[in-house]
Structures are given as C-alpha cells and as structure tokens.
Amino acid sequence: MTTTEQHIDQILIPILEQVSDPEIPVLSIMEMGVVRSAVIENNIVKVQITPTYSGCPAMDVIGDDIKKALKEAGYNSEIELILSPAWTTDWITPKGRKALEDYGIAAPLSAEADKDVLLHGKRIVKCTNCGSTNTRLVSQFGSTACKAQFQCDDCLEPFDYFKCLK
C-alpha cells in the first residue's frame, strides 16, 4: 500500500523547501520526502508530515519550523503527523541524495546491497571523502538511528551511511 503520491500545492513548495532537517541542515524536508501533503483550506495550510524513524526527535522541531516558515509567508497552519504509508529512503530525492553525499553522509543503497553491506561486510559503500569503496562497517548504529557508522580504510576517514529503510 506504499504510495509515493504527494499532494502539495505548487505555491507552497518554495516555502517548504526553505525548511531543513535539523539533524542534517543541508537537506530540505522536501528533498527528504517527509512532507506528504500540504494544501490550503479556508486560509489555513494543512500539512501532513511523516517521521523517518518513530523515535526521531527532529519531528517536533520540523513541525515548528514549518509553522514558522508558513507564518512568515502569511499563512496559519496545522501540522499532522501521519504514520501510513511509512517513510522509506526511496523518497529522498536525487537532489537530496547528492546533498547528503556532499555533507559527508553516504546515501542509502538498494535494500539488497544494504544487506550485503550490513550483514556480510561487503565493501561497496563509497567513502564520502575520497570515493574509495575500501570501507568497513564500524557499527550498525551511528550518530542517529537512521545511520550506520563506517570507516574508510584508504583515507581513514570515519563517516556515516544512511541506512536503507523500505
């Protein structure tokens, strides 16, 4: 039942694009795919957002930031947190993936490759510093619940890998 359909009024897109993920400031919530709908009804913007992870502490902040951005643009808003369909890393846009990599977080691989990496220790995650795939898993959980910790064995740089969630 997973649908990637989003209902977002065109006029709201530039406003929502200004709101960033507080844990990954280079990424807007639009690129992250957490905004599932945003429509204007009777002068109030109704926004539905979905958490990346259930316990993601960023969700409250994201809700407040959306309200603030919309207020500045002259809209009152209501935020609703929805769980279904559940967020997947597939909803991160290509631009978002690029922003992640530039920021030093390796973007999620396909579900199959993700398993190879996290379970069987395959060296295919590209180091965000030097591009080498001579990298290894340090821990399945990194600085936040959505990431795993890696290290590059060529340039020795430690970095995060955004785990595939499907």
């Binding site: 992870y53 259930s54 769980l83 379970l119 399945q140 990194g142 619940a145 910790q149 785990k163 969630l165």
Partner: protein, 251 residues
C-alpha cells in the same frame, strides 16, 4: 471505558517496548564500547518512539483525559503488563544481547502479523515499526553469533545468558482475556500460532552461533497479569522519578 479490551491490548504491546527501552537507556554512557553504547540507546530511542504512537492511541481509546505521558509514567507496578523477559536487568553484555535477541525475534513475527490487523491505526504503527525492528534483530543476532562463536569465555557467557533467560520466553505466547477477544475481532495477533516459528528460528540462530538450545521446560509467567519479578519496581522508580517528584512537570 467503551473499548476496554482494545485499551488493554494496546498496553500489552506498548509496555514491552517501554520497559525494554528503559533497560537499554540505562546503558547510555555505560555501554561496553562507544559503538554498542550508541547502538543500544538508538534501539531504545526507536522503542520509545514506537511507544508514543501506541500510548497516544491508547489515550484516545481511553477517552478519559489521560495523556500518553500519564499512561506511560503514572501507573503502579501491578498495572504494567509487559512480559517478564523485557524487565530483566542488564546483568552483562551477553544478557543484554540475549534478552534483546529473544525479544526481537518475537517482535518481528508479532509486528509482521499486526500489519494485517483490522484496526487501521495498529496496522499503520506495525508497518512503521517493523522496518526499525528488522535492524534491531540484525544487530542482536550479530552479537549472539559473535559472542557465541567467539572465545571460550564469550561463548560461555552467552550460553549462560541464553540459559538464564530461556525461562521467560514461553510467556511471549500467552494470551490474556483481552488478547483473545481482540484475536476474535480480527484486531489482535494470535501469538500461539507464532510459537513454533519462533522456537525454530531461535534454535537455528543459536546453532549457527555454536550455542545449545536450552531443553528446560520450566517457564515463568505473570507479567501479562501485572505480577512481575523483583526487578520491575526498581526500574519504575527510575523511570517515574521526575513525574512523581515534580508532578506534571514538562521539559
């Protein structure tokens, strides 16, 4: 309460995650290594996040003004209905991982079925949680193998932990009256049907980790009726301290 069975059913699921989350949270700053410390607290965070969805729903079902926080923080020991397994202490890292693995395996099977619930809220929560729990299971399975198949000492410690906690596994498959009612209505999961798969999968992994599957048939129960081991009271006094000391305080 209009739908008391549903309310009880939600608590039955949520309390397991709350208490296990609290146990893992105790390791914050005390994990055996930085990576395992972070992993345990991340899993704890996932569980607490899941718990919020359940308690928010329970608060709606109760409809008596109690908030999610009231339900989580202000019940007495006998009113918590988590299974005994999750309240067992972090005796050592082998115990912590064995407890995690024995619960994660059940949790995966359970959520997989809960996704098919006729109750749309429970099914949506299950659909969200199962993605996170699959990572928990990978993590704990990995440690069972590493310690079981590691040195002589790590093997012995892991075997001791599995043997010590085995007595709490059977309770996962017990049903309360509310559970039975919910199964009847197509809302709840018939856990009895999961039992065989659970023990098969657990045994397979233990075998892979060169560990023995315990043969003891002596099992403890009571958590689901609110009758707990001596460990829960201490855990709750930690969990509830702030709300009891400064009632209604908020961050």
């Amino acid at each position: 309460m209009k739908n008391e069975n549903l309310y009880k059913y939600i608590l039955g699921i949520a309390d397991n995650s709350l208490i296990l989350g609290q146990r893992l949270g105790e390791l914050c700053g005390h994990g055996p290594s930085l990576e395992t410390d972070i992993a345990c607290t991340n899993i704890s965070l996932d569980l607490f996040g899941q718990v919020r969805s359940y308690y928010q729903y329970a608060s709606k079902v109760a409809g008596d003004g109690r908030t999610e926080d009231d339900i989580a923080m202000l019940r007495k020991e006998r009113e918590y209905v988590n299974v005994l397994l999750v309240e067992q202490p972090n005796t050592d890292f082998a115990y912590t991982m064995a407890r995690q693995f024995l619960f994660d395996m059940y949790h995966m099977l359970f959520l997989n079925e809960l996704q098919k619930s006729k109750d749309v809220t429970l099914s949506a929560i299950a659909n969200k949680c199962i993605k996170e729990v699959s990572y928990h299971l990978r993590f704990s399975s990995d440690w069972i193998k590493r310690l079981g198949d590691g040195t002589e000492i790590s093997h012995q410690k892991m075997q001791d932990a599995i043997d010590g906690l085995w007595t709490y596994t059977d309770e996962l498959f017990h049903q309360t009256e509310a559970d039975k009612q919910m199964v009847e209505e197509g809302i709840g999961v018939d856990v009895i049907k999961l039992k065989e798969t659970y023990y098969t999968k657990v045994s397979e992994l233990l075998h892979e980790a060169s560990l023995k599957t315990p043969e003891s048939k002596y099992f403890q129960k009571g958590g689901k009726q609110g009758v707990h081991t001596e460990h829960l009271g201490y855990l709750l006094s930690d969990l509830q301290y702030m709300q009891r000391t400064y009632p209604n305080m908020e961050w």
